[in-house]
Amino acid sequence: MKAAIVAIASLVALTGLALLSPQWLVFMAMLALAKGVVVLGLLVLMRTGLVSFGQGLYFGIGAYAAALLSHHLHVADAAVMLLAGAAAAGLVAALLGLLLARYRDIFFAMLSLAFSMILYGVLVKSAALGSTDGFNLHARTFFGVALASGAERRVFLIAGAVCAVVAALLVHRLLGGHWGRLATGVRDNELRVAYLGASPYRVVYVNYLIAGALAGLGGALAALAVGHVDPEMTYWTTSGEFVFIAILGGIQSILAPFVAATIFEALRMIASQYAPNVWQMSLGLAMLTIIMFLPAGLWTLAERRRRSA
């Protein structure tokens, strides 16, 4: 019930933002949303105690799937692109998950990193896809309705908001119940999970699949927002960024990824605008401050407020 209210409120707020704010803000909101969706997937995975340093793989797959649709198959419908992004990523996750679900800890992290870097290598090698330069994409319709020039990103933001809110609600329901406890169980003590008769492998697999599909959706959203895809999306630094956003937000709440992604983007924007020569340092200091004072992630801020209220 409470979740539904938050969801509706977020939708209204985002729609308002999409319709009323200046273009740059619309774009930033959309990028934050896209990353938020990826991090949401990471959150699902982190419930099982696994951190993937390779979500860039699915982020990239989602983006390239959407972009290829537009660029090579001339399907320029944003809704189809989003769906294709999530589906393509989900499909690959379903395959790789069979292998990766056996891995734990840093080995899981690094093997997923290896896969994302292999895709990176493939993309860098594909001259037809523009190698590291990537290529541009255009979505001209949404559910078949032609988009007015200049309004595309406003529409995408609303579409992105709907995707994100639905995804967040589903994840919220999933993790709030038995499945969430089971995932925590896998994180805490796999042996006991097995001895209770459940399969840790299956839990990890399913969560990996969800994370992959969400990263794909995020990738497609980002591709729509940026209008350009390139292999950098699959590079480990991109994957690393997702992990950092996840930790920045903390893993307690479904809203945290979105809040953290927004703050991360904003921090980076402010740093590069006002300290172009030392933006990395500013970002680093900001991150340290957050870790020092909000040990369980940004979300502790909200928690504190709630408690004092």
Binding site: F107, L113, A114, M117, V243, F244, M281, L283, L288, I291
Partner: protein, 298 residues
């Protein structure tokens, strides 16, 4: 046949470099459970410090052979000043936090150091070619090879052996094992855990800086050299099995040899080689070549 020797030599030289940077990483991870992203910055810092020190030495007209000592000095200085600074100033407040949070902390340190390096040394590349050119070449399979690479290999060997001796043949090494396994119980047994951490981080930082300092003469020292190193080193460490020194050595060797063979026979695949090796090793051995022994749980 004639190409085996060159491939092996190039591979081993590259492996030596990889080993130097991964040894510190695996040590810090093994003992402190910190995946130290700032390792890349320490590597870069070592390279920059080496350029400054050896550059000043050579610029002062002192004997060129002494520049090797400057490389060492640079590594030790970085390790014993910056290492403790990071550990005491920052990390020591973070112990007990989740592993991934510590990754984030070291990532922040990495970001900060990138800009610090830029502010101190500027964005232009620094060059220190003398130590590389000084020892000259030798012939192998009809091709000239720099003697400097032999120096690098010897350095890696010496470092590896010294570390192995310290870790596996001394009491300090066994105490370290206790700290690794159970911080709290170690304190109760009278081990000064905080000092162990400090020393470990300083040694790890010195190793990173050593890698950077001895690479400096072969490359142009530019902003960003630390970024690439991190993933390479992580990959080697994971291939070898976390926290295992022998693993890091074997992992480095494997990666080095595969890379040099790839460059020779299939240059387009160079980009994948290390990740392909990592994926293959992990598929065959999910915990790396030398998996850490686990305690009996039930």
């Amino acid at each position: 046949m004639s190409s085996i020797l060159p491939i092996a030599f190039d591979g081993i030289a590259y492996a030596s470099w990889l080993f130097l940077i991964s040894a510190g990483l695996t040590l810090i991870y093994g003992v402190m459970r910190i995946l130290n992203v700032a390792h890349g910055s320490l590597y870069a810092l070592g390279a920059y410090a080496a350029c400054s020190l050896a550059g000043a030495w050579l610029g002062g007209g002192l004997p060129a052979a002494g520049s090797f000592a400057m490389l060492l000095l640079a590594a030790v200085l970085v390790g014993s000043l910056v290492g403790p600074l990071i550990e005491r100033g920052l990390l020591q407040w973070m112990y007990g936090k989740d592993e991934v949070v510590l990754v984030l902390v070291t990532y922040a340190v990495f970001l900060i150091m990138e800009d610090v390096i830029k502010l101190v040394w500027g964005v232009d590349s620094l060059l220190l070619p003398e130590p590389y050119a000084l020892p000259g070449n030798f012939q192998l399979g009809g091709l000239p090879y720099p003697v400097y690479n032999v120096v690098l290999i010897a350095l890696a060997l010496a470092t590896g052996l010294a570390l192995a001796w310290a870790l596996y043949r001394t009491r300090q090494g066994k105490l370290l094992l206790a700290v690794i396994h159970d911080r709290e119980m170690s304190m109760a047994m009278g081990i000064n855990v905080s000092r162990v951490y400090l020393a470990t981080f300083a040694v790890g930082a010195t190793l990173a800086a050593l890698g950077g300092a001895f690479t400096a003469p072969t490359i142009a020292v530019t902003p960003g050299i630390g970024v690439e190193v991190i993933v390479l080193a992580f990959a080697v460490v994971v291939i070898g099995g976390l926290g295992s020194l022998g693993g890091a050595a074997l992992g480095a060797l494997l990666v080095g040899l595969v890379r040099s063979a790839t460059v020779r026979y299939w240059p387009e695949a160079e980009l994948f080689s290390i990740y392909a090796v990592m994926a293959m090793v992990l598929i065959a051995r999910p915990k790396g070549l030398f998996a850490a022994q686990e305690a009996r749980k039930i």
